[in-house]
Symmetry: D2
Subunit: 238 residues, 4 copies
């Protein structure tokens, strides 16, 4: 069957633990609708308890789990079994988020398990050097962003972004690079993509805004706008 195909540029969002229950579903449905409306792929990182429900209601989202263990079916109370995530509808997994840091060895094993199950691996890295290190393990997506910026409302500066993209691409040009730390406006989404990121995302910036649903739609529309401008300028072919 293979992994979910992602069309670039794409948008990514996550509710982390800011909201729960029906509020999560509401945001997920809005993300799904924006994905359809603007014909842009949207990655949605969903809490474990909501993965199945979002899968059933939001057919266009590419759903990621926020973490997984690498055990195989067997004993293991409270472990996150990869097969169970996939069966519930997850198409990928976040690895090494700064709020869930992982050992080097666990990062490697989780990428391997994701590949085995045709799940996308989305690996976070805190510095340029860590982004380079992660690139050596060939995940599908790298999210190189300083943990100090996450949830801060302050985004990476553009020189950092350009350097991070180059660092990853020099090692493996096939790895997609996303920027998300501290993004609060649709214009930033556009700017980061125009600077060379295959994707941009927002979590706290979106949820803490005055009108999250409207901003979500606007952000996705700016991904579309960036895509059109990349095509016009010949930097992206259809």
């Amino acid at each position: 069957m293979g992994k979910a195909k992602i069309r670039i540029p794409f948008f990514e969002t996550s509710i982390k633990c800011y909201i729960y229950g029906d509020e999560v579903l509401k945001i997920a449905k809005a993300a799904d609708a924006a994905s359809v409306r603007h014909d842009v792929d949207v990655l949605f990182i969903a809490p474990y308890v909501d993965i199945r429900r979002i899968r059933e209601s939001c057919p266009h989202l590419i759903i990621l789990a926020p973490y997984m263990d690498t055990l195989r079916p067997g004993r293991g109370m409270a472990d996150i079994l990869p097969e169970a995530l996939k069966e519930a509808g997850a198409q990928g997994v976040v690895i090494n988020h700064c709020e869930r840091p992982m050992t080097l060895s666990a990062i490697k094993k989780t990428i391997d398990r994701a590949n085995e199950l045709d799940m996308l691996s989305f690996v976070c890295a805190d510095t340029i050097e860590e982004a380079r290190a992660v690139a050596q393990m060939n995940p599908d997506i790298i999210n190189p962003e300083s943990s100090e910026l996450i949830g801060s409302g302050q985004a990476s500066d553009m020189s950092y972004v350009m350097e991070a993209i180059k660092a990853v691409k020099d090692i493996n040009p096939g790895i997609l690079v996303e920027q998300a730390a501290g993004i609060t406006t649709a214009q930033q989404i556009y700017d980061f993509i125009m600077a060379g990121s295959e994707a941009a995302g927002s979590a706290s910036g979106l949820l803490n805004s005055a009108d999250p649903l409207a901003l979500l739609d606007e952000m996705v529309s700016y991904v579309k706008k960036a895509r059109e401008d990349l095509i016009k300028s010949g930097r992206l072919s259809i």
Copy 2:
């Protein structure tokens, strides 16, 4: 609203990570049916991804999550938010399972969070001394069993069981005590309850048996049988 009321003696089961997906739902439905058939309360420890689905299909089960964090709504990628568990249908939480050992301080905080949300606290303890320690924090249920026996197919010996029950009850007679390690037969379920446990349970013993669904029903029926014999002998009043 208050916590879920548990009628004693009760049965507890868990699929841990042995199975996933529709297989989990099948076991849950069988547990729900056995609960109705024998009029016995059944605690079902469900993987996070399955809690909501089991809640919707199995109205009689008392559903427990296998673990939770104690954060409050906010940032926290991959954390298990108590409010999200409760909203999805969990009525309680397992704390300090030997496959997910917790710090003393986290055990205390998780019991507090469970109380705050009217969720049952089900705390595991590896030795008699640890059972006594846990009893001082007044959880709803204590599961005192040697981690060496869990998943082994070998149950606690009866003198250990009696001592563990006495240790807990001497500190707080209101705490329910359950035995589950290494139980593989319905007769053991009956014996542990007749020895003074308010509950008995089985996970790997059940799932690794020749006919899990039949054994599950038999085990629940033996809880009923124990209840009737306890009533007859005047040790339990209706």
Copy 3:
């Protein structure tokens, strides 16, 4: 040979990671001298690298390691082997400090290992309930203090102290109780002991003072003063 005998009331101090190298030895020698001068037992929690050197220079201190693992001689890179600590001169070990929280099971195993090697177990607890839980495992000393106060310069209030002492003594009157969080003056040392603590201590309060060596001597002298007043009032017999 048996565990080190502690005469009550006693004083405890620790340099944590505030200083290192010869500065540690200087404080240790001052503590040793104060112990002799005032005929008061002093527990000194020493970094691993300094235990042997302090042992050689400070014969009167009762030296504790800040943590230990429970492995037995064998493989284990970077683990803290109990036998190695003891051989280097440690006579006891701190367990479950809030800056090194431990699982309930590890607390129990570490107390057991300390007993096996005739090492004193000094267990920290963050709340009254946790102090009660720890008391069930019968360590030699319990240090019940809110982690929020540690390093804050603000001490526990007296009602908390009295309640903590009573909570521990109700379970096992043989366990010694110490207060140390946020203590910055010799008068507090005196007051906590007069309130019923067998010991009082200070780490950051001492090291951050204008003249640590003078304050250290004064604090130890106030332990002596408290001892004399306890004897005079008939609350302590010689």
Copy 4:
């Protein structure tokens, strides 16, 4: 002052937790004597409690700590303060040993702290991919060996060794590569160095041998022999 200079090829050994106390010093002195006798640099990974004593008795050894934290002087009970290690005599630190796995972010921060204090960084990696990842963070030494082999008495096969060396050198030829997993004979020491490793080492293989002191001397002598053969063949210049 700068980092300790290491002359290649070199030998590395560690007692892990197999022995303690005076037995450690005996091995360290034998390693120091062998270093002088064969004019070969020897890295000795010492337990924290023994670092200072070994430093005082063994002037020729290059002493490494088995792990360190990255905190700066301040609060932190039981943390391993880098400055304290260095002051006690450690000239470097082992990072990410499979018995002390570290997060990617902690690996990076520890390499940075080691550089800041002119301490050698010796980083372990469990697979070729992880060795490549670590190489991106430019430590001084990489020890790429499968955790399954460590302590097993079975060494890496030569094709793995050659591939691991090439993987690291392709990224940064200045990083030294050592092989140590499962080495039990002096001949293996010679072979791994002749295959291109800058170093070889042995811990359990040495300590579990019939005559550890004799084998230690023999292993160091085989490093010398390999050095001479590398010089003769023109692969190493003096």
